[in-house]
């Protein structure tokens, strides 16, 4: 066919988002070939194998946990939250960028998001799955998780709705459900494309069932567009609320270093910060392995870098405000908590997080750094590490040294803490690379709308 020309990877023309030379056909072929091709790049096997190995480690750690109990972790009085809640907050935060890209940037009409929203939403789903592991495992008896839900029972117990931990159950499960729905609705037209393009009868049956008979009818598109906008409008307050509710787990308590009113915006900004770092850490290798530089262009990476810089500054402001508030508030315990953070047993972690989250991202001011995928990749990993340290610092250092010096104790992660944490990274990579292999990682139909030829000419409009 005439439009099956070679794809030329050039810089997009001014005002355009993707590289010139694409047609509806070549976009479809390039994105769907990642899934439908028989040849899988070595990188995929390496990444999937690496994720799978860490997943095995996770299964081992969970098995030992089930056999011996949560004592295999380093959690002891007073630090009963340790790694489990640190990792929970870290993973939930990473998920936030996916919803931000798919919902908030849709409402703001940022059309460049069309190239990155699909895999960012998948990232959200898998990050929430990893996050969910920790409160469940931390319960000690995860098989009784349904006790957290209000259901008729003979035990005469019901959830305490005045507790932020119960709010969390509702916030996170709603977030997981809505993210799944949003992701699936976005996939439907592309599943139809895969159904029509695959030559494998089993694949056709599976994609066909999942596409639910989508046929691209104009009547369907008009309802579909309404549904997307409404879902985006619903998901926007939701994503802002989820990390707010997570931050309530801390702020509602009176522990020094936790009990402050600015935690909600501080947590949401930190979530978006780490989430965009994860988007970059995934997008940069994927686009070079699958040759998608024409769709996920340098401009996309540049924009993500700018968002990281902006949210990084919000986080930096929060750090400063936190310290200022402790000093200006005049509360002895609050002041002591911050003094302990900076000079106490966790001083190394504190100054590392300042270096990772405040100092290192300042390189993103330079256009040259933002236009170099390698440097962006490195800075995104630095930010991910920094945000993990931040969660660790908030949770562990506040609990380790609170009001009464006689009850102080230092927490250090055991090897099983580390095995569980690394294990969820394995779970994440495993699920993510399964997704890359089985479903289109870029939204095909939304990228088609970015083409100049997708615009209807003036004569046809009248």
């Amino acid at each position: 066919m005439a439009d099956d020309q070679q794809i030329v990877v050039e810089k997009p023309a001014p005002g355009e988002i993707i590289a010139p030379g694409y047609t509806f056909g070549t976009i479809t072929d390039q994105i769907s070939s990642v899934v439908l091709t028989r040849k899988t790049p070595l990188f995929w096997f390496a990444a999937f194998g690496f994720g799978g190995s860490l997943l095995m480690l996770f299964l081992l750690a969970v098995t030992v946990l089930m056999a011996k109990g949560v004592g295999i972790w380093g959690i002891r009085t007073p630090v009963m939250w340790g790694f489990a809640i640190t990792n929970f907050v870290w993973w939930i935060g990473i998920g936030h960028a996916g919803t931000l890209i798919s919902a908030i940037l849709l409402l703001l009409n940022q059309r460049w998001r069309n190239s990155i929203n699909r895999f960012a939403e998948a990232m959200t789903l898998f990050a929430v799955a990893c996050a969910g592991m920790f409160p469940l495992l931390h319960m000690g008896r995860p098989w009784l998780f349904y006790w957290m839900l209000p259901y008729p029972n003979t035990m005469a117990i019901e959830p305490q709705f005045r507790s932020p931990l119960v709010w969390d159950v509702f916030a996170v499960s709603t977030y997981a459900t809505v993210s799944l729905l949003f992701w699936f609705v976005g996939l439907m037209p592309d599943l139809g494309t895969l159904r029509d393009r695959t030559k494998n009868p089993i694949g056709r049956a599976i994609y066909g069932i999942l596409a639910m008979g989508w046929r691209g009818s104009a009547r369907h598109w008009s309802v579909y567009e309404t549904a997307s906008l409404l879902l985006a409008g619903i998901a926007t307050p939701l994503v802002l609320s989820v990390h707010t509710v997570v931050s309530f787990d801390f702020t509602i308590a009176i522990v020094p270093g936790w009990h402050s009113t600015f935690f909600p915006p501080y947590f949401v900004a930190g979530a978006i910060y780490s989430g965009f770092a994860m988007v970059l850490a995934l997008a940069i290798p994927l686009r070079s392995v699958y040759g998608l530089q024409g769709l996920i262009t340098d401009k996309h990476l540049d924009n993500c870098g700018k968002i990281m810089l902006a949210t990084g500054w919000i986080v930096a402001y929060a750090y400063m405000l936190e310290v200022f508030g402790a000093w200006y508030g005049g509360n002895t315990y609050e002041q002591a908590a911050f003094w302990h953070r900076m000079t106490g047993p966790y001083a190394f972690e504190y100054w590392s997080l300042v270096a990772c989250n405040i100092v290192a991202p300042q390189f993103l001011w330079f256009k040259r750094v933002r236009s170099s995928p390698v440097l962006l990749f490195i800075s995104s990993i630095v930010v991910l590490a920094g945000m993990w340290l931040e969660r660790f610092m908030i949770i562990v250092s506040s609990l380790a040294q609170d009001f009464l010096p006689s009850s102080w104790a230092i927490f250090r992660g055991t090897r099983w803490d580390w095995a569980t944490y690394l294990g969820t990274i394995g779970l994440f990579l495993f699920l993510f690379f399964l997704f890359v292999r089985a479903l289109p990682m870029i939204s095909i139909f939304e990228v088609r709308t970015l083409l100049p030829q997708a615009k209807v000419s003036k004569e046809a409009k009248s």
Binding site: T23, F24, G25, T28, P150, A156, E158, F161, R162, V166, W167, F170, A171, T174, T177, V178, L181, F182, V185, P189, T193, R195, D196, R197, M212, G213, W214, R215, G216, S217, A218, R219, H220, W221, S222, V223, Y224, T226, A227, L230, L231, I234, A235, P237, L238, S241, V245, F248, F445, E446, R448, T449, Q453, A454, K455, V456, S457, E459, A460, K461
Partner: protein, 178 residues
Amino acid sequence: MSAHGIYGVMAEFDSPSALVSATRAARAKGYRKLDAFSPFPIEELTDALHLHKNKLPLIVLAGGIIGGLTGFFLQYWIAVVYFPLNIAGRPLNSWPSFIIITFELTILFASLSAVLGMMALCGLPMPYHPVFNVPRFSAASRNRFFLCIEAADPLFDPAKTSEFLGTLEPKEVSEVAN
């Protein structure tokens, strides 16, 4: 389905502009039972087909209200009626602490009704549809644009309608078997 034994006739186009012009021409000719198929949403098609506003926002609003009421009264009933706990004489109906779960269930019900409502309004899942009988139709999810005039239309006549579609400069006109 109809006296003609077929579902309709379908014309294939290779650009969104051609499809929109053809749809307008078919509407102007008096055809009403017609549908257009495209690989991505085209705003102008919605106008050309005179698709009125759909009921989805209303469904979502209703879902959200039901969710909010469910969320609040679930907590109210448990905290006040079913399982009252007197903690230091604080009020049982401590509504400020019920706000978050009320909000979350509003969101949950609203988004479930958005997705289920969208599927219901579209008639999905639909395991069989005659348009897939046209072999070329698989390109509707890739790079081709189709206009189908259904046999259920009062003006429909297999020969005349095909002839009319032929005047709209399509790439191909084919009959859609039932």
